[in-house]
Symmetry: D2
Subunit: 331 residues, 4 copies
């Protein structure tokens, strides 16, 4: 249940109620917002006189629900992301930061193609300890300095709760990766910051759990959450994962958060990324996240699925007419 | 392996080889085509002098492979369906034939919207014996007469091998439903006919098995096979199935058969059908199959996912700009 | 709903009601049983005076439900199969009938190990048209003659509705294979016979659909249905399928039909078959179906998963103490 | 590749090689063990003179592989766990620590039934922020003091990297929960400790990834890792998850680590836990983890699946004959 309370609600009544029902409190401009389990359907006698509005729900998808609020927009620097924004970010860059030269080449490519968002991983949540694990702090520094020089918005991933503060301090948008979606150490730290969060769906996670992971951030007071569908694990093995656009249809129909698609990790191969990007745009999503590398064959991770610059350029050209129908401009 | 042989290949050599290797023989205009397991990589000494061309493959996706032939087009009446056709069929109609009035209303809707293809089930492969099982022969007759009056192309589904002949004789395009994809009684009968086949992917079937089901039809000599992706079964339960557009990207990249998408069965709800239709068109598929009913709430099957005529009309309008980019005209 | 009606219920009232509600009628010794959709909760005014007992259900699992009847036993020759039987059949034999010699060797193995049930496929529902498809009619004849000489109970699979009558006439127990579970041509023909049916779960089918497939047979009047769990398709790819023993726990707790486990198809390798067999016995199932071949390496299908005779013998020894706890004797 | 090197291998050569190939070094009694990616198949010229033995692998399952070492045993207090141990731990206790009284009742139950291992969660990785999140530090203290009084071995779960040190200091066995399996912050901290680890399989994780998660701990030098299968997420929805005993067969056949089964989370209901426990024992696993609560209906989490004491007692009696066959004694 979400309650909007008068700003003059007595502190002791508020505190008592919230302790008793494990509710989260966020002070807004003209009201106090409190959220507790969807099993609650009415406030209690003490609180009732101060209730402005009550929102009840079938499940714990509450703050993220379209029933609670219209589609949200998130501002990052000059970029506004969301259903009603005219800007459409295509966030490109390599799976991993590898060298300064690599990042410079990527930045050049982005600038020449009028893109403003760069992605690159410094902490890589690999499934084997014997694979390349990322350049870590050094990688983040390379990303920051390249972005600063070229005036780019940075996206990079937190691997686990032990680096989350470093990430929040280093990048514009913290990605929560598919393997970290349930990581409450990450989610709570992000909730307590005002950092923009790109929350990826766990590949074994239901839509319900995915949006509830967003609720972990929202209920702490941080409203800057972007949902990212990146493919789920199914029995099909010709592709790396299965991009769940039925799930995206559900999210569009039921939630108020911006939605971004990552076709690269879903397909796991470069050949169909442009097609899936066009499909995602036609569905009306709010941005794309695409792996691009100066020389994918030599990439230290995800070599198969990263686009080279020619492929990336071709993709950017191919999506233009679809963006035009959506009245969106590439950012 | 596929071999193209000279038309003067001696019958006994041909027959010996085919018996020994379980090969299928099809006479083409200027050569004899034989196909056997992909484990074969060369012909034998007797056959060698008559070989025009040899095609070898990694798996039993052979006749359907882009390595063997360019994208195929299939002609049904005035409709040409395939990657390079300018026509784009949106096949609409109810899940089940229910009454003559119902079909007439659907036919009127189609004609007024310049559509030429009607779908409706007479044999319904329900999962419970206690549900409505379809009007069977009577349903097929209603469909035939409505289509004849209105000059429509008919699509209807075979439930199992016991009605396959009736279907072949009654409709323009025989659908092989998702639960019948492995049914060799159906596949072989269709292979021996020259009927156009819309082969739906089994919801528990891999892409490899799906295309191999098409090979059962193709190897018997019937080249008129359309592939239809309609969603696979995954752990996600907010939607009925998960539409596998990564799989479609693979099919486009590797096979020569036309591809149609059925968003209705994938999503299982009417709300996102237009979005998924736009996505499919943007990906470059060759047609859509969409459930439409004069009064979905009273439908005897699939009530949730059928569009009413207002929703269907809206969808047809919304997809127009996407078809234009693809240089396709609604049919 | 299932109704038990007095034997003197007037025919016209009965017929009217059954036509109106799509109900199935079966005459039992002391009552008339009718079954229609679980959405019905009460009979109507005309029928009410003749109702002996009414059974209502949450879903269309009705005749198979433990709420309707206690655990059933099925008699096949000298074998009684079911929860309370002291006999425990381990049905062994090759994936496919290949030669007379092969079947004789299998029969000898069975007899020397006091087993009485042989399995072997004559119609093979392969996923590629270019693989071995079984010896068909000839295979069934070999199986029949071998079984007759050695007094064995025969189990063999129907591929699709076009051979179902031949199967019913040829073997003691007709297997409905995993790819044919939804085949209503097969299910209805079996329902109208009195043949014992071993119904395998579709690898993409829910437990609900699996038991409803059994209902297709039961509602036609044939009560001789055995359920067989043989693995479902999941994301895990180190094993061929995933044996669903949680599902078996549900079936044991909720249905009245005998349950058999096929570990061979689930695992797809010979190494763990004995372990899975012991697990199944410890859970309290009613029999096992295990692929055994005189020379698995040369088998024309499923070479990886068939046990050789040494492995099969070892398995039979290893399961003995577990059968003893269950108070079951190998049959 | 794993190399066993002479103890006199020059430090600079060792260091050079390990830096170049990202290898992990562990000093053993009579050799130096180094491990790097399975893509390496031979040492280099500098290192070669010091190589005692080389182990090469198909995949990054290396230290955990049966090809590298025989089945391992792990000692925790008086308990030895592993394939060849005569002790069989059944670890029981509530999902969450709730009150001191609750834990005392559980401890009494365990002692009266000669069990020595208690499980209880203090940090609960719930999927909704609005559910009970556990008593955290206070919960750990209650668990510690109850265990100390009653001389019990404690098992409790780390939620994310932010509490891992507290867990290591507080309990005998740290559980890595299904949602934390990929959490490298947790895995690395455990690898650097000598704490016994119960590593649960992620419900969306392949067996390959599961064992590679164990490799993250093993390669840091901590050999005390127990694998725990607890069900994977599939399309089946009558049960909470699907217990993957085919996967367990693979693990037994290919890895050297002890294996424990958690039937409670797999099934998600109390009714079939005893059956699944018997199945697991019959397969030859090394222990069970079962949720037990004095009053499951009032439990703050997992109410459906926790056994009450009567059910737990019945289970302990029912498994006895199966343990006897395995020559194992309840611990």
């Amino acid at each position: 249940m979400i309650l909007h309370l008068k700003t003059n609600t007595p502190k002791n009544i508020l505190k008592d109620y919230c302790t008793k029902t494990n509710a989260f409190i966020n002070k807004k401009d003209s009201f106090i917002q409190i959220v507790n389990s969807s099993s609650y359907k009415v406030a209690n006698d003490e609180l009732n006189p101060f209730v402005i509005k009550t929102f009840v729900f079938d499940s714990d998808i509450q703050l993220a629900s379209l029933k609670y609020s219209a589609h949200k927009q998130i501002n990052i620097d000059q970029l506004t992301i969301g259903r009603n924004s005219s800007q459409f970010p295509i966030i490109m860059g390599p799976c991993s930061v590898e060298t300064e030269t690599q990042l410079k080449e990527v930045a050049n490519f982005l600038i020449h193609n009028k893109l403003h968002c760069i992605r690159a991983g410094a902490y890589k949540p690999r499934t084997s300890p014997y694979s390349f694990q990322g350049l870590e702090t050094k990688g983040l520094e390379l990303l920051k300095s390249t972005a600063k020089t070229n005036n780019l918005i940075t996206f990079s991933e937190a691997k686990d709760a032990s680096q989350i503060k470093e990430l929040i301090d280093s990048v514009d948008v913290v990605q929560v990766g598919t393997k970290a979606m349930y990581d409450q150490g990450i989610l709570k730290a992000l909730g307590k910051s005002d950092c923009t969060v790109l929350l990826k769906r766990g590949f074994g996670s239901t839509i319900q759990e995915f949006v509830q992971a967003a609720e972990f951030i929202l209920c702490e007071g941080n409203e800057n959450v972007i949902l990212c569908e990146r493919g789920i694990r199914t029995f099909e093995n010709k592709t790396r994962f299965t991009l769940d656009l039925c799930g995206v249809a559900w999210l569009k129909h039921n939630t108020n958060l911006p939605i971004i698609i990552d076709p690269s990790h879903a397909l796991g191969s470069s050949y169909g990324i442009a097609d899936l990007s066009k499909a995602a745009i036609a569905m009306g999503v709010d941005g794309l996240l695409i792996e691009t590398h100066p020389n994918p064959k030599q990439a230290q991770s995800d070599a198969e699925q990263q686009l080279n610059f020619d492929q990336a350029k071709e993709l950017l050209e191919q999506v233009q007419p679809y963006l035009k129908i959506q009245k969106r401009i590439l950012y």
